[in-house]
Amino acid sequence: MTLLDWGVLGASLVGIVLYGVWKGRGNRDLGGYLLAGRTTHWPTITMSIMATQASAITFLSTPGQGFADGMRFVQFYFGLPLAMILLAATAVPIYYRLKVFTAYEYLERRFDGRARTLAATLFLIQRGLAAGLTIYAPSLILSVLLGWNIHVTNLVTGALVVIYTASGGSKAVNYTQFLQMLIIFFGFGIALIYIFNSLPGGITLGDAAVVAGKLGKLNAVDFSFDLKNRYNFWSGIIGGFFVALSYFGTDQSQVGRYLTGRSIAESRTGLLANGILKVPMQFGILFLGAMVFVFYLFTTPPVFFNPVEVNRVRSGAHAQEFRQVEERYEAAAEARRARTQEYLEARRRGDPSTAAAEKALREADAGTSAVRSEAIAVIKKNDPEAQTSDTNYIFLSFVLGHLPAGIIGLVLAAIFAASMSSTSAELNSLSSTTSVDYYKRFVDRTPDDANPATARRDVLVSKGATVFWGLFAVGFAEYASKLGSLIEAVNILGSLVYGTILGIFLVAFYLKRVGGTAVFVAALVSEAAVVACFLFTEISFLWYNVVGCLGVIAISSLLASWGVDKKTPAPAAA
């Protein structure tokens, strides 16, 4: 990194923190601190929602997925717009009319304290650990590729976020997220332009798309139905719908974003605009990855993108074998480059040999992939514990190796902005849940607006909770490197509980005759079913949400029809 890169990165980070502290000043009560005084307009809500969902890993990993696996991941988001419509039409008005601070507060009004405590506790555990990983995952990648100290990176990221999130609450989070999304769009837009400019002379965008398509990187939609296939149209539209419904409707890190709207209309519109923008954004990021793939058709890529694993094997007992594989990989990549040129030239001429040239290109690409698999096998042989997936390292490795000074700093600023935006929303929502669902319920039940002293104390407690969860997240990020495969378990935890929580909320919203005991029992049984699916079947994780959610609805309805604690309708429900 050059001085210019450091300057761009440093100025961006300091600017974000100062802007957040400045915009978030003057909070006098919980409404101001946790809900931004309900003053936010819909464009800021939309950007805030998008920034919360898109963490640094989204921007590091998704182009890598486009590179390695093509664009099929975009289907995961097909159900999201449908969920936005349902939530805008039903959940938002309910939350507003009850004037709740958190989604879980609503559950006590609808059922009883057990449902609220169960949902709030599951949220604190899952989101608290996830906040640690939101900091840890990009720090790990940056430390591997740039040689930075991972502990310092964890600490700096966490400290910067805590400063403005604790100081300014939701208002600071919302406004900085707007700024962060602008940095992200700008950084990635510039990167895409540079990729196009870096292609050899005469290669047009159309050529790049044709080659990427022929080699299976533009496989955006697959209509075949297969429960074991993680990304197809059906898993995306059905499973993705339930995931989005659960995440945006019941996860406080998202609910807290649109509850800051100045009216129901602003919050609804913020969600709907997210439904319009999200899929094209993911499409663009995946396309960026596919274009990085095309770039590497003309420039020999590393055989493996994680330099730590490569250096380990180069200095180990299998160094000689690995060197031979690397030489063969370079030859295979060179042959693939020649076949790519031949195919494009034949295609331009409209030559009858185009089909044969296409076949030769596919074979050359398959040959390159086969040698890469051999390299991975050597890495694994050298160290059975080695990480054999390098998807997360592909995009940043490209940026560091091929983009000019200044742009590298900008892309790094975008990655930090993404990490900070997700983390700040997570800390803010953890603070809301701790303050509202625990402190104001079990410790001090005095209404926040009873007197200025109570309001000041409540804000202070919320700030303290933000700092606590910030320390927890950084602490977990520090510990994460020792967890190994447990990290995957933490990542999957959300998939295991989201469906059940969604089921509880859907019953609360739509099945007025079901009471607290029925839904509580149904939630426990459905969660057991989801865990059984995880442990004993090969069903893709996207379907866990469907199982958990439909399980709660079906079982609680059955129990209610048997007369288990029939409940009066929810207060002021839509």
């Binding site: 819909w42 664009m71 975009v74 097909f78 717009p81 449908l82 936005m84 419509i85 805008a88 039409a89 798309a209 044709v210 990427a212 398509g213 022929k214 299976g216 533009l218 496989n219 955006a220 939609v221 697959d222 209509f223 149209f233 009216s263 129901i264 209309a265 602003e266 609804r268 519109t269 709907l272 439904g275 319009i276 899929v279 094209p280 499409f283």
Partner: protein, 38 residues
């Protein structure tokens, strides 16, 4: 209760339809993209 109008578009029905049409257009475009370049 009178429903508040959206900031633009005139009615919520119009905005919901807009989101659905946008999704349908993206899926159609992505399908074409897949077929055209496969």
């Amino acid at each position: 209760m009178t429903e508040e109008k959206p900031p633009f578009g005139g009615s919520w029905g119009f905005l919901y339809a807009l989101v659905l049409l946008n999704l349908a257009a993206i899926i159609a475009l992505a399908s074409w993209f897949t077929k055209a370049f496969e």
